[in-house]
Symmetry: C2
Subunit: 407 residues, 2 copies
């Protein structure tokens, strides 16, 4: 059993969402005694949006999910933990189709309204018999809490992850409750883990997708643990419509901004929790890039810094080795001018105009790095582009976890 | 003091090169008692070619070297160890210019024929006084051996690196002797460390550059330790012409292919030694990609595999977790079809056509991974493109070395 991350945060109080019911089962996808099959029943009329990994060797679940999203309706969600069912060929697909058939029979809905996600080991077909037995037991199980569901979808996570927010839309109080899992094989350029966001707001499917894509780009797509990109990453946003507001259809609708803001808050919160549970993480690192030629360039530079093993190990060693930050900026493949660069740790600027600041106080920079939350600021000095990328340090813990994951 | 890499190879017997003299000094760039300043005197008429890092935050030495290479002549080389003099502004440049002036005065040659390289910590200006004192003492020092010079240019290396080869050109026996350093901040898309290759062959400058660029693309540009790209990487090829052959001017000249082949052998040998000394390395990994749409695509896929922390930790754990190889192929951003992929460890194919081979013997794959030299084969199944990329595993040793490098 892995020790809980020192950066863990407590699971929040999470309100129920009208139209959403959670249930669990022990499918025993691995040799463990824990809930590893989660079922979310969604009432008729629920709309759904999704973002998925861009890894082209993606799982069957992701391939199917991408297709299913197009019709915009959802009635059920099944999440399997411990087996990613990726790269498993026809056998893997059979298991997913069996699950969809079972659940859609039970819910009396079209199969494509049942979404399936699986994470865990790659290359082992999801055992169809265990999945079917698990689903059979789950359909009649008692409802469970958000916390229990958040725990059941985890694999190598060391703490369950949840987030909630609310907004006023069309005079109604609407609520978002969300859970996520992920701690390794985390890199952006796509959704980066499993995340499920539920709201009682009424939102038209096309706008729901736009809202999710926008929230995703500044949250899940701005985190990285190890630069590796999962075959299974999925974020789904379900809107049951039970709050009874006039359905939102665009950013011009009153309340749309309030909803977007609440959604962004939930996505950032979950994204940060995933970084806080980064495999072996001892530091939560925010890389703030300013002065790039545009925001996309700032994000690429931020990712080059956040993914650099040498930067990440320096932070692990609480070493204000800003030279490694310079190196990472230089390899990002983005416009930068060495002699314009400025770098800070926390509030302590250590370099400006391409060289160390003569009288900078390394002790202050080092003191900042001794804290569990670290900020690296880089000003490129060329334009107005800015971005923040979040990551964690690279420690012995990452090696220990990943050099012996399967056994 | 770091323990010698378990993958180290013995330093070879290296013949002298007519026209090349090596000398050492203790400049004390760090608080250590070892030779850290290397001087190579080259006789009049020596031609030079070079390849340099593409990191845009490169050092002054690299900026100047790129310019100097254009005139094609060399008389001296100074290599500083322990201080990269990168990101040090005007003060860093002054130190380099002082060294060039001192050495060119001594050799009575134009300044631009004196090449300077520095590696080590980034961001600390090269101490001009120590450099000058070191150079003063070195100019009158006794000649040293290849092995001593190879040792003096190292920083975090755990063994000195040398390689030699010979060829017959124009009826003359010509010789190549070469030294290199590097064990971290190693990634391709440029020269990847410091490497100096000396030959007594007579070769015209333009062709010398072509020969080096060609040899570099399949050797130093096909290795990676940690995906990080140094600000200082440099490979220089010096040809004294003392062998007396009719100067080579193109691949059409008799003997040019023999020389190119010997050069390639030396570059590959040194490149492999750098990987063998990868920080914390316990396994030497060859990633062989075939069936890609073209060779460049195969190299990108190979690099995605070789740079994946999850692949590298799996190999460290001797775990035949080929799912992580699939993941890395999928994130490479290159054409691939999950359902055409085939993967092997050593000679043991483990996956074909997008799924595990039913009766593959995992024990055989695991047995292969228990060896210090590991081969990962990936067939993309789309075309004829192929490439081999070399890397090492990611272990606790890497974290230990890099979480506390400066102190």
């Amino acid at each position: 059993m892995l020790e809980t991350s020192p950066l863990a945060v407590p699971f929040p109080e999470m309100p129920d969402i009208d139209g959403v019911t959670l249930r669990l089962a022990h499918a025993r996808y691995k040799d463990w005694d824990r809930a590893d099959l989660t079922f979310v029943a969604l009432e008729e009329g629920t709309h759904v949006a999704g973002v998925f990994t861009r890894n082209i060797c993606c799982s069957t679940e992701v391939e199917m999910g991408r297709e299913q999203i197009k019709q915009g309706q959802a009635r059920g969600l099944i999440v399997n933990a411990g087996n990613a069912n990726a790269f498993t060929g026809a056998r893997g697909r059979e298991a997913v189709e069996a699950i969809m058939a079972q659940v859609s029979d039970y819910l009396e809905c079209p199969k494509e309204r049942v979404f399936v996600s699986s994470t865990g080991v790659i290359g082992v077909p999801l055992p169809k018999d265990r999945a079917e037995a698990g689903v059979r037991s789950i359909l009649t199980a008692s409802p469970c809490s958000w916390r229990d569901a958040a725990q059941a979808i985890t694999t190598t996570d060391t703490f369950p992850k949840g987030a909630t927010a609310s907004a006023i839309v069309d005079g109604r109080s609407i609520t978002l409750s969300a859970i996520a899992k992920g701690s390794g094989m985390i890199a952006p350029d796509m959704a980066t883990m499993l995340g499920y966001i539920f709201t009682d707001a009424a939102i038209a499917p096309a706008f729901l997708q736009q809202l999710l894509s926008d929230a995703n780009s500044g949250s899940f797509n701005c985190i990285t643990v190890d630069s590796d990109t999962s075959t299974s990453d999925t974020v789904l946003l379900f809107a049951t419509g039970k709050a009874g507001n006039a359905p939102l259809t665009s950013y011009d609708d009153p309340g749309a901004d309030a909803f977007a803001s609440a959604l962004k808050q939930v996505c950032e919160d979950l994204a940060h929790q995933i970084v806080r549970d980064g495999e072996g993480a001892s530091k939560f690192i925010a890389v703030q890039v300013s002065g790039a030629v545009d925001n996309a360039s700032a994000r690429q530079i931020g990712l080059a810094i956040a993914n650099s093993p040498l930067v990440k190990t320096a932070i692990a060693g609480e070493d204000a080795n800003w030279g490694r930050v310079v190196m990472a900026v230089g390899k990002a493949g983005q416009p930068a001018d060495r002699d314009q660069l400025a770098i800070r740790f926390g509030n302590q600027w250590v370099a400006r105009e391409g060289r160390a600041i003569d009288d900078y106080d390394e002790a202050l920079a080092t003191a900042h790095l001794k804290q569990p939350e670290v900020e690296i600021g880089v000003d490129i000095g060329l334009g107005d582009g800015r971005a923040t990328v979040w990551t964690c340090d690279l420690t012995h813990g990452y090696i220990s976890i990943n050099a012996d994951y399967r056994s």
